[in-house]
Amino acid sequence: MTDAPAIQVRDLVVGFGKKTILDHLDLDVKDGEILGLVGASGGGKSVLMRTLVGLLPKRSGQIEFAANGASDRRWGILFQQGALFSALTARQNIQFPLRENARLSPQLLDEIADAKLEMVGLAREDGDKFPSELSGGMTKRVALARALALDPALLFLDEPTSGLDPIAAGEFDALIRTLHRTLGFTVFMVTHDLNSLQAVCDRVAALADGRIAAVGPLSSVLRSDHPWVRAYFHGARAQMLGLGR
């Protein structure tokens, strides 16, 4: 692992019409870490992620990716609703990026897809199902397997545990941890789940008023004086988890 950040964001401004969503934002995502991004609903978390992956145009500022492959679209993205192609089976969904980017024999394609299915904790039979036949948790797992199809150096997760029950969410957190250890990718994760922040993330960044209000390990972000960050981590729900004092 090198010291150069996997993503370096400087002075980023993004807005729609007269509204400015991200206002001169700076952020570093270190190589090999799991960074969790928190922020108010509608506060620009998804806008930041979509700008990073190029789905939204930026007004000004720089976004730089480390040279280890992330720049040539070697990143995986897990969308909030999975965004699986509804006309393809789970297995074909996983094979799709492979098929488009490399020339493999059909046998190897099937084997790699099955291996990915197993890595995200699904059975081989689940590969024949269509997205409409999958439960919420299974959809997220298949979407994760698809995001990992090309073994990306950089993985974007948009609210990976939203819509999952606490048990499934906990299992999904553990899965991300395990895969992170075996595959060694960098994770940029947008989340609202305080449990995930605690269990998965190496560092946490808090987005407020269009800027990063606090960034660092969870313990240091907890000590931040920023009013929104205080309200977020010291609210009733955070108290229940024993996060705030």
Partner: protein, 373 residues
């Protein structure tokens, strides 16, 4: 990664192999070929010390090579696995252990029979869905007749604006062109018998009895029926229909009744305007191409057609509207969760309603012939 992957046997021991370079998905084409060549040898060990990059695809290929063929019971030893790649090799080692499910071969004749059977069953269930929609529509209509205050006037007027008012320009244009084409063809071919003047009879009767209403109904099925199916289908996908039911409201009364009633009002009006436009187009061509002055055209038209012809055409319009509306609603409600299903049902809505409109037109032709209209 620049360094190309290689897989070579040791100089001293042909059963010991060395893997070098980047074993990742970017090089997978080369890797697959290397592994296919090496698989013929009796591999006892693979040294991974010089592997510079490894991902799941590369790790799986190495693992598959190590497992060897089914006959070869000895597992090759993977050496030099350490550091960040150790976890990955360990993970891959436990993958794809379950036996592949056997694929059953299917007799093609039986498969065709199977498809035919399923198709017939679907035909029955489609007819049932249509009849069910007819029943639900009648029930909702009765409910509105008993409690007129529950009628959704605003929604109906809004739908009327969409399927009626906004459709007028395109309907008028299409029927105008059809009328013009019929007149041109008639003049061209009737000239040989010196019977150009009968073109007026042909255009008048054909347009008022059949073409006017049929063309408009087909256009409405394609324009408004498909929109109904897509709307109702999207609402079904997003659970809006379920939300309505749980609030104690009948989705048919709220969503479908106003839409179908709007069609029933709009289609006769559109058919009337369409017939006018077709006659206008016919008259224009008769004048400019056939040299028949408008005064003569109108006088001949007056002799050729009677109110009966107009009645025969316009009576059919509301029935066609009901058929189009019912098919669109039934197809919309049978949309399943996926985007593909929405497209499928919209297509089948248009195809079915056009088919049924033409069948209905045929039945009416038989009916009117038998009562002498």
């Amino acid at each position: 990664m620049i360094n190309a992957p290689t897989l070579t046997a040791d100089a001293d021991d042909p059963r010991a192999f060395n893997a070098r370079g980047a074993w990742n998905v970017a090089n997978v084409e080369v890797l697959e070929r290397l592994c296919a060549q090496a698989a013929r040898a009796d591999i006892r060990s693979i040294d991974l010390r010089s592997v510079t990059a490894l991902d799941t695809a590369g790790a799986w290929l190495l693992e598959r090579l190590a497992r060897g063929s089914a006959k070869q019971s000895v597992r090759a030893v993977l050496t030099g696995v350490d550091g960040p790649y150790g976890d990955l090799m360990e993970e891959v080692e436990r993958l794809n252990r379950a036996a592949l499910p056997e694929r059953k071969s299917v007799n093609p004749v039986l498969q065709k029979l199977d498809q035919l059977g399923r198709g017939s069953k679907r035909l029955a269930s489609d007819s049932a869905a249509f009849l069910h929609m007819l029943g639900a529509f009648s029930f909702a209509l009765l409910g509105v007749l008993r409690h007129p205050r529950s009628f959704r006037l605003t929604s109906t007027v809004y739908q009327l604006g969409r399927v009626g008012w906004q459709a007028v320009p395109i309907m008028a244009l299409i029927t105008f062109l059809i009328g013009a084409i019929i007149a041109q063809q008639g003049i061209f071919h009737f000239q040989r018998f010196g019977a150009e003047s009968y073109v007026v009879d042909m255009v008048g009767i054909l347009v008022l009895r059949e073409i006017g209403v049929l063309i408009v109904a087909i256009m409405v099925a394609g324009r408004s029926g498909s929109a109904y199916t897509a709307e109702i289908g999207a609402m079904k996908m997003r659970e809006e229909i379920d939300a309505l039911s749980t609030m104690g409201l009948d989705p048919v009364a709220v969503l479908i009744l106003p839409r179908i009633l709007a069609l029933v009002v709009a289609l006769p009006i559109l058919a009337f305007l369409g017939s006018l436009a077709a006659l206008y187009g016919g008259g224009l061509v008769a004048w400019l191409y056939g040299g028949m002055s408008p005064a003569i055209f109108i006088a001949r038209l007056h002799d050729a057609v009677s109110v009966t012809h107009f009645e025969v055409g316009i009576i059919k319009a509301p029935f066609m509207a009901i058929v189009i509306g019912l098919v669109a609603a039934a197809e919309g409600l049978s949309v399943k969760g996926s985007a593909e299903s929405l497209g499928q049902q919209t297509t089948s809505s248009v195809v079915k309603s056009i088919f049924l409109v033409i069948v209905l037109d045929g039945l009416f032709a038989v009916f009117f012939a038998s009562i002498g209209m």
